[in-house]
Each structure stands twice: as structure tokens, then as C-alpha cells.
Amino acid sequence: MHTADLPKEKLVEMYRLMLKIRLFEEKVFELYAQNLVPGTIHLYTGQEAVAVGVCSTLRKDDYITSTHRGHGHCIAKGADIKRVMAEILGKKTGYCKGKGGSMHIADFSIGMLGATAVVGAGIPIAVGAGLSVRLRKTDQVVACFFGDGASNQGTFHESINMAAVWRLPVIFVCENNLYAMGTRQSVVMAIENISDRAAAYGIPGVTVDGNDVLAVYEATFAAVERARKGGGPTLIECKTYRHRGHSRVDPAKYRPKEEVAAWLARDPVKRLKEKLLQSNVVAENMLEQIEKMVSAEIEEALKYALESPYPAPEEALEDVYV
């Protein structure tokens, strides 16, 4: 589908979701500074267009796999932010009863098969879900999120090869934010476009502007349509940028100031907003209304999470086995 044909409601919904991720992440950042978040956090700020562009093409029963930088994937797939926030704070009411935390959120009821913090480990799991779709003879698809860094793991190559030769309904979504921790892509890869690797496995590979939600949507829509019809996998590389450091402790001094400034100027949330206003899809006051509603939702989620109890210590022993 061409995004020009998208109904107004869909565009507004994408904006709402992107804003929700943005404001949610900013809230988590704030909480972190107040020492309310245990452990570490990897914020999705700046990459919202990828999760939302991809997940907006999916059905509720389609699957996704996620990474250490996974809050945005959850929210875009339709997770309840109350339970996401509760998990991040280590509460019993969180999605994983406090066992997982920020890096490990899952909501199997909406096909969100979980975030793994082992870089690249989600890729074969997505292929396995794709194989299961084939064996169960449904028409679901799987979207697999991972970073530029993860694309250097053996799992990336092994998994795409398998999905290709078995023509499985998997969309490999590489979020190329140019860095893996402090390591710039050029230090560890001799290519510029990770999508070039698709050719080696005999599948289509495309690179899109990952800060343009409509570009991500369009590319994914085509890939999903092909996958549902048995046409096999696609590799979509989304060029994007994280607005903050890798994790809570990282001031990201390894990134040149001009580079940061250039990417901040291409803020995906702002870009969609401008597009909506320019094309008269919505009036400014409607967007303000949306922002108010989203902020209220986040405050409500925070209240829920803060008021929720911690798990009892002995619960550590539960769920090791079925």
C-alpha cells in the first residue's frame, strides 16, 4: 500500500503511538534519575518510527521478537504501558512479575514473544516462530527486531539463510542506529548498507529512512504481504539514531556533535507531526489533545506501577519449571 492512500485515522494512530513511546521513554529517563529504576535502561528515544512503522502493518496475532532496547517494540505492538512500567520498576504486577525488568519484557497475548538481552539471540527465535506458523498452517507473520551490532552475530546469518531456504514468513528488521555501544558501524563492518547482506541469502533487502515512519510502513507492508502469501522473508534496514547514550551510564562522547545535531533535526516524531499539519490531515489542536491524553495515560501507568507491590522474595523460586 502507498502511504498516500492511508486513512487519516491510521496516520493519527501512528502519531499517537510514536508520541506514546517518546513520552514513556522520557518518563523512564526521569525516574531513572530519581533512582526509582533498578538496574540499567536502554531507551528507544529517536527510533520510534521503526517500531511503529513496522507494527502498524501487523495484526494482533502476528508475532514480534525484541531486544534490550525493547520498550518501543512493546508499546507499538499494543502492550499495556501500566504493566510495562510496573515491570521496569520490578513490581509484581509487571508483565514478567518482576523477573525480567527493562531488558526482558514480553506479552505473549499480543504476539510479543519477548525481549532478549543476548544480542542477536532473538533472530533464530523469530525464525522458529515463522516455522511454527508454516507447520500450523496459519497466515501469521513474524517481525524480528535487532540492531546493527546484532547483524554481526552468527545467528543473523544462520537464521536468515534458514528462513530464506524454507521461505518462512519472517520480516527481519535491522534498526541501524550506527552504533553498537560505542562501536561505530565502520569499525566493525566493511559495508555501509546492512541490507546488502540479503543478497547473500537470496532474499530481498531494502534500506529505508528509519526516521520516516511512512517509509518504514511502506517497506514493511510490502514485505508482510509477500510473507503472508508464502513469498518468504525480507530484510529491511532502517537507518535511525538513538537520541541518548547506549544505556543509563553512557554520555555517548564517541558521537560527533554535528552528527548528533543532524539526527536530532530529523526527529521522527516531529517529522510526522509536521507532515500531518502540512498536509492538513489534522488540526494542531487535535494533536495537542492527543498529547494531553497520552501524557495522562503515562501518568496513570506510573501511578499504577508506583503503587504496585514488589514480589515476595520467595517468588524467586517460582516459574523455573512448568
Binding site: 525488568g101 538481552a117 517468588e315 523455573v320
Partner: protein, 324 residues
């Protein structure tokens, strides 16, 4: 004597060995000039030795260790860093099937003098993929040496010995130890593998502990001393080779044994040490051996859950009282 941190002690060992021997080089994810290692152990080394010898790698753990093996059998002395011990799982083929077996399988033709440095341990709320203690996995593989330093002094001496030695070494660090300070002499020294250190002498009960647990055991011993009980704390320092002699000697003296380790209880470090004591010193034991270990769960995220599964001072004291 001057005091430095465990982190600084490791860095000093790397720096001294790199200055001494041009065949020593480092490789790993984010160990170079942009980050200096996730735990900052290699901070500043790329600036001194250059990017060739302090090499940032792609995120490819199995290949990192495989590359280290290839370099080691052809004359280099690589020191590879795996950012978290849990991720050594990704490199297990190269560690356990290649590095460990390359000498034996090829009839003694080759040697693989490489070191895999990696941090284990829970306590910072980073959940099941970044918190495990997997030392026992490596103890189980003939052909590997396994170091478990608990102090800056041991960390430096053992790492220098590991780099100079001719066997593959899995060098287990603990994330909570990096900022811990301790006395380290200015001068040159190494610590041989297979020599335990009695961290505190005592008469009534032997506590064998490793890594961060040594510090908890020492605190427990201090408290027990207030109650008039004399605890001997033995730190094996290397799990392979294991200094059975010192452990058994201590057990023969005290007649009581508590083994403490942060890894899971089943088939873990404590299991091996307890089995050795049962095999070789059962006639000297006046009470059943007690083990204090993680209760066979993955490491959970939420603070109250995580604290529940990490062995603590209280559990050590309880075990000591049970064997008295």
C-alpha cells in the same frame, strides 16, 4: 603498601604484560578507545598500545574466541574479553571444543596460550542474561584452567601468570569486585595456578569460598569471632587446577567444612569441592558438609527477588552454626 582497585590491578597486569611481550594483544567488544571496556578494565590501553593490539571486535563472541585460538596456536598470546560471563555461552564451542582440546587431540603438537577474561555475578539488577556465575561449566572441561581471583592482589598476580602460561585460561572476574580496593605491591610478581590462599586462619571450621563470596565469608568469620568461634577462610584462587591439598589440610585441622559459591548448587563449584572433601577427608569430618549456593534458579531482576537468591553473610553464618 599502596592500595588500588581490582579493576586497576587487572589493567596493570595487562599493561605490564603487553609492555613485556609484544605477542600479547587484547580483543573484545568495546574494549578500545571509544569505551575502554564495559567495566573499564582496558581503559587507556588503546591509547598506549594502539588499536592493533587493543582491538575492538564486532559482536561475535564465538568468532572472538575462535580468532584467539587461531592466533594462539600460531605464536601470539591473545587476551580476549567477553563482556559478560553469560555471553561465554555463545563462545562455548571455541572455548570447550577448540581451545581446550587442540593440544590433546593433535597429540601435543599445539599449545593455545590464550586468556578469556569475563565477569560473572549478580547483585546489580540486570536479570537472567547478565548475572550468572558459570565458573563450574569451565571446571568441567579438561584442558582449561579456571581462575577466580577475589582481591586486587590475586587478580593481578593470577592474570600475569595466566598470560605467561601455555594453557587456555578462563579468567573469571566478578562485577561487584571491580571497585574493591586492596593492597598490591609496586613490584613485579605472579601467582602460580593451583595454589590456594588462606585468607583467614582459624581452628573450628573451614569455609571455602570464591570470588565475591570470599568477602562475605570473611565478614561472617569476623562476626563468628565475636561469638568465640574461629573460622578459617580458604580461597582456592583457581578452580582448575584446584589446590586440594590446602583445602583437605584445613578440613583435617578443623573437622568441619562449609563451601560457599555464588553459582547454582546443583553440579556447581560447591558440589565439586564438597565431593573432594567427602572422598579424601571423610574420616576427619565431625559434621556433614554444608553448602551455601544459589538455589537453582535463573537470576531474577527485581531487587527483593535477586537478593533472595544470592547467598549472603547470614546464610554463611547459619551454615557455620549448623556444622558446629
Amino acid at each position: 603498601m599502596r592500595k588500588i582497585t581490582y579493576r586497576e590491578a587487572l589493567r596493570e597486569a595487562l599493561r605490564e604484560e603487553m609492555r613485556r611481550d609484544p605477542s600479547v594483544f587484547l580483543l573484545g567488544e568495546d574494549i578500545g578507545r571509544y569505551w575502554g571496556g564495559a567495566f573499564k578494565v582496558t581503559d587507556g590501553l588503546a591509547e598506549e598500545f594502539g588499536d592493533e593490539r587493543v582491538r575492538d571486535t564486532p559482536i561475535s563472541e564465538n568468532a572472538i574466541i575462535g580468532v584467539a585460538v587461531g592466533a594462539a596456536i600460531t605464536g601470539m598470546r591473545p587476551v580476549a574479553e567477553i563482556m559478560f560471563g553469560d555471553l561465554a555461552a555463545l563462545a562455548m564451542d571455541q572455548i570447550a571444543n577448540q581451545a581446550a582440546k587442540i593440544r590433546y587431540m593433535f597429540g601435543g603438537q599445539a599449545k593455545a596460550p590464550l586468556v578469556v577474561r569475563t565477569p560473572f555475578g549478580a547483585g546489580v539488577n540486570i536479570a537472567s542474561h547478565h548475572s550468572q556465575s558459570l565458573e563450574a561449566w569451565f571446571m568441567h572441561v579438561p584442558g582449561l584452567h579456571v581462575a577466580v581471583p577475589s582481591t586486587p592482589y590475586d587478580a593481578k598476580g593470577l592474570l600475569k601468570a595466566a598470560i605467561r602460561g601455555n594453557n587456555p585460561v578462563v579468567f573469571c572476574e566478578h562485577k561487584l569486585l571491580y571497585p574493591v580496593e586492596g593492597e598490591v605491591p609496586e613490584g613485579e610478581y605472579t601467582i602460580p595456578f593451583g595454589v590456594a590462599d588462606v585468607k583467614r586462619e582459624g581452628e573450628d571450621v573451614t569455609v571455602v569460598a570464591t570470588l565475591y563470596m570470599v568477602h562475605k565469608a570473611l565478614k561472617a568469620a569476623e562476626k563468628m569471632a565475636d561469638e568465640g568461634i574461629s573460622v578459617e577462610v580458604v580461597d582456592p584462587r583457581t578452580l582448575a587446577p584446584l589446590d586440594k591439598k590446602t583445602i583437605i589440610g584445613s578440613v583435617k585441622k578443623t573437622g568441619r567444612l562449609v563451601v560457599v559459591s555464588e553459582d547454582c548448587k546443583t553440579a556447581g563449584v560447591t558440589a565439586e569441592i564438597a565431593a573432594i572433601a567427602a572422598e579424601e577427608a571423610i574420616d576427619y569430618l565431625d559434621a556433614p558438609i554444608k553448602r551455601v549456593a544459589e538455589p537453582d534458579t535463573p537470576i531474577p531482576f527485581s531487587p527483593p527477588l535477586e537478593q533472595y537468591v544470592i547467598p549472603d553473610e547470614k546464610a554463611i553464618i547459619k551454615a557455620i552454626k549448623e556444622v558446629l
